[in-house]
């Protein structure tokens, strides 16, 4: 109010008063005051909804996703026949979801699908509506403990878990490599090399590199104020950072080892050259085609550190459905998110996309347990860590990975010290 009085005064001084007061100080102020009657909230919401509800949903651009989401959204609309919905489904690559939402939160979708590593960034920017209350089912109970934990920050849930298969594991061709061969990097590389074949992994990818260090018991995670804590350069403990670094370089020096990204790996596998690759569920189609009846998947192999066999670790990843905190229809957006992540929807999504569900009941069903890739993820799960990583991790770690792959560093301790300084900055 003070602003307006001041502007009136000033305007008066300028002698042209006729129009000055009329300009509204055009700021959005919250006006949505709810009915306080103690009815079923959903019924109240339906009663209070007079205008058509406009919602936008962003999910992966793949055909499988677009199709199954369309079907689920139709089912959602049918559930509330009294309300008129205009739900638009947008194609949005999940990897870019956070960036695109944060470009203009107010213009972004009401509901969007995103991978769990973007949760922190989205919460930090205040873009996510927290799950303060649930209406049709309880996501905190229906989903596995790990996924719920991943969807929460400081004990508060910020998203609805949808899938639990964003991790990595080993694909291999069982016509070339036996179950025993793929138990350790040493035997796997030896056998592949003997037959003139190769094994792939994106060692220079920060996401994959993590598995070696975490496997050896070294730590890297987000601490206070979004800074990472990291002891990859530790000089005491059972395995030192330098030992792990040397072990990685040893693996990469092997002639049968190829450090390559997903697309290259798929191409090599289809060529018949690459007989095993560390990759995720998104590549299952390509490897199925490449290996035919030899298609198999399992947990990651062990690797040699100081003469011991150490199980390689990994990141476990999940996909969530989030509600935009700036949505104009928060209530309906929340109900839609609940619907898209309930048992029925998760089962449909798992069938359509081949991604493992986070819902405990669906995870035990036949649809899922028959798929080797999802089974392999389950086998790797005990060695997988929740991905809680500050942004300063990615570039220094990728640089560290690239250096380890090439192996032409002189002082591994200094290399690790520099990397840790960058990761923890």
């Amino acid at each position: 109010m003070r602003k307006r009085i001041l502007s009136l005064l000033l305007a008066g001084a300028m002698s042209v008063t006729m129009l000055a007061g009329c300009g509204g100080s055009g700021k959005a102020s919250g006006k949505t005051e709810g009915n306080t009657a103690k009815e079923d909230p959903v019924q109240t919401l339906i009663k209070n909804t007079k205008d058509p509800v406009n919602l936008t949903l962003w999910c992966s651009e793949t055909e499988a996703y677009q199709k199954v989401m369309k079907e689920r959204v139709d089912a959602f609309e049918k559930q509330y026949p009294k309300v008129k919905f205009n739900i638009t489904i947008g194609a949005e690559s999940e990897a870019n979801c956070k960036d695109d939402v944060l470009k203009d939160v107010e213009a972004a979708a009401d509901v969007f699908v995103f991978p769990d590593d973007q949760l922190d960034g989205l919460v930090q920017a205040g873009a996510l509506q927290s799950v303060d209350a649930t209406y049709t089912y309880d996501p905190a109970k229906a989903n596995t403990k790990e996924t719920v934990e991943a969807a929460s920050r400081d004990g508060k849930m910020y998203a609805y878990p949808m899938t639990a298969s964003n991790g990595y594991f080993l694909y291999y061709n069982k016509n070339v490599l036996s179950d025993e061969d793929v138990k350790s990097w040493d035997t796997m590389l030896k056998k592949a090399g003997e037959q003139g074949k190769t094994v792939g992994m994106e060692v220079s990818g920060a996401w994959f590199l993590y598995g070696f260090f975490s496997g050896a018991g070294l730590e890297m995670k987000k601490g206070d104020e979004d800074k990472n804590t990291c002891n990859w350069n530790s000089t005491d403990g059972k395995y030192k950072g330098v030992d792990v670094a040397k072990a990685i370089t040893e693996i990469c020096k092997n002639k049968a080892m190829v450090n390559c990204v997903n697309e290259d790996a798929q191409a090599f596998a289809l060529d018949g050259k690459m007989v095993a690759d560390v990759n995720g569920t998104w590549a299952s189609g390509a490897f199925k085609k490449a290996y035919g009846d030899g298609y198999a998947a399992t947990k990651l192999p062990t690797f040699t550190v100081n003469g011991d066999q150490v199980q390689q670790g990994s990141f476990a990843g999940y996909k969530f459905v989030g509600v935009n905190a700036y949505s104009k229809n928060t209530g309906w957006a929340m109900l839609l998110s609940e619907f898209l992540t309930n048992e029925e929807s998760q089962s449909a999504i798992a069938q359509a996309t081949g991604e493992g569900p986070s819902n405990t009941k669906v995870a035990e069903s036949d649809v899922v347990t028959k798929e080797p890739a999802i089974k392999a993820l389950g086998e790797q799960a005990p060695y997988a860590d929740l991905q809680r990583v500050g942004e300063s991790y990615w570039e220094p770690a990728a640089t560290l990975g690239q250096s380890l792959v090439e192996g032409n560093y002189k002082d591994p301790q200094k290399l690790l010290d520099d990397a840790v300084a960058g990761i923890t900055q």
């Binding site: 300028m14 129009l19 909230p41 905190a325 109900l335 640089t399 250096s403």
Partner: protein, 471 residues
């Protein structure tokens, strides 16, 4: 210059001193002076501008301008009512809007002050005309001058507005952001950002183990300059030589050759660059050919390719990538230069060439002494533009080195990599790391370099009438 300004204000003072009631009332109501002299429509229009300004300022921009010193104090808070699924949001401040609307508001006030002086002088001019019983233009006559004597004003108004909207405001805004802490931890509308003074400029020149902007900035700046020079020079020379070959009388199928090269322009750069980037990738087709014919092994044995690599790192190692992007750019950029060089070569005065031939000059001498100086003179300004454009040549670098992973921790810690130009670094900082404050600082540097470079070289080129040298 100062004399002009003095004169201007002397004119204004005189208007205030000697003005009659119409002129003086124009000090408050801009339109009065025109209406009083019978220029009704003009008076109303000017008056409407004044009212519009006051309405805009006090109705809209004043609230933002008053918050400019702090950039907002009330952070967004929301409460969600689980019983009704309804949400209440407080009346929060948006730092971004405050900054943007504040700048626009200040700009309008400056424009208003200018209009105030200008208007008073003009109205006084009208008064003098009326006193001297001279003719005063009607509105129709005023409009008429706009398409006749003052046609330049009509022509310039639209570009002028465009420059203001797409150049001045964004640049002012960017400069302001460089003095704030607008980064991933201070993102509006949810969070506020505020002024931090010269903090970011200090960061840009700091080099420690973790803050490596100083280290990366100098190296990227040097590489940007090398790149801009090499890219401009190679495509320029390549284009002229190519045009010379194609235009030679002894070349057959000139049109065919020319069209073939023009086709490379017709294919969108994105497609070409992405494809070429894949071809030269670590596991791309060029690498598999090289390793089959033994080139990879040979380069390894002479030490050009690191021992740990099983491929030639065309686009994935410093040095290699630097040379490759320049080479690939030749292929992308030469056809453009060829086209413009063709036009210039055709326009070289024939008498000069013939005179040289009669004097017994060889083809090489003619090329060095006549053709090149002529072409250089004609293309000078466009070369400078090309140089500036290459400083900001985003496409080539970004698309070719998207898979590049640096092995230098100091680059990685400031989100840069060796083959980055300032502009791609800036893009990475904003787009992937929401580090708007540092990106703005770098943006200012790019702007200064481009602006100063352009001004100096244009001033030198235009100096004197050098055209006579070639007559």
């Amino acid at each position: 210059m100062t004399g002009k300004i003095k004169n201007y204000f002397a004119g204004f003072a005189e208007a205030v001193r000697k003005g009659d009631r119409w002129t003086r009332s124009s000090l408050l109501l801009f339109g009065a002076g025109y209406i009083g002299r019978g220029q009704i429509i003009r008076g109303i229009l000017v008056q409407l501008i004044q009212i519009g300004f006051i309405w805009f300022t006090f109705g809209f921009s004043a609230q933002y301008m008053m918050q400019l010193p702090t950039l907002g104090t009330v952070q967004r808070e929301e409460t969600f009512d689980p019983a009704t699924l309804a949400k209440t949001v407080n009346d929060y401040d948006n730092s971004l809007l405050i900054l943007l609307c504040g700048i626009i508001g200040i700009f309008f006030i400056l424009a208003y002050i200018l209009l105030f002086f200008q208007n008073t002088r003009r109205v006084y001019g009208l008064q003098k005309r009326a006193e001297a019983k001279e003719h005063i233009n009607s509105f129709r006559e005023d409009l008429h001058t706009l398409i006749n004597e003052k046609f330049y004003l009509t022509l310039l108004s639209l570009p002028g507005l465009g420059v203001l909207l797409v150049n001045i405001f964004p640049i002012l805004f960017m400069i302001c952001v460089a003095f704030t802490n607008y980064d991933k931890r201070h993102q509006p509308p949810t969070y506020l950002f505020t002024w931090v003074g010269l903090e970011n400029f200090k960061t840009l020149f700091t080099s420690s183990q973790t803050v490596t902007f100083g280290y990366a900035f100098i190296r990227i700046l040097v590489w940007t300059m090398i790149w801009a020079f090499a890219a401009t020079f190679t495509t320029f020379i390549g284009g002229i030589l190519l045009a010379k070959f194609i235009n030679d009388r002894r070349t057959r199928c000139q049109k065919l050759w020319r069209s073939l090269f023009v086709i490379t322009i017709a294919i969108p750069q994105f497609v070409t660059l992405l494809l070429v980037g894949k071809m030269f990738g670590d596991y791309g087709i060029v690498n598999s050919i090289c390793s089959k014919i033994g080139l990879t092994g040979f380069l390894k044995s002479i030490g050009l390719v690191g021992a740990g690599l099983s491929y030639i790192p065309f686009l994935s190692k410093p040095g290699w990538a630097h040379v490759m992007v320049i080479l690939i750019n030749i292929w992308v950029g030469v056809p453009f230069q060829m086209l413009s060089a063709t036009g210039i070569l055709m326009n070289i005065p024939n008498d000069q060439l013939e005179a040289a031939r009669i004097d017994g000059a060889s083809e090489r001498q003619i090329f060095r002494k006549i053709t090149m100086p002529y072409v250089l003179f004609i293309t000078g300004p466009s070369l400078i533009t090309a140089f500036i454009a290459n400083i900001n040549n985003f496409n080539v670098i970004y698309l070719l080195t998207s898979d590049y992973v640096s092995t230098n921790m100091k680059f990685a810690n400031s989100n840069a990599k060796e083959p980055d130009l300032l502009i791609t670094w800036l893009f990475n900082l904003t787009n992937n790391h929401s580090n708007f404050k540092m990106a703005s600082v770098i943006g200012i540097c790019v702007f200064l370099i481009s602006a100063i470079g352009t001004l100096i070289s244009f001033a030198r080129l235009i100096k004197g009438n050098r055209e006579e040298d070639f007559q």
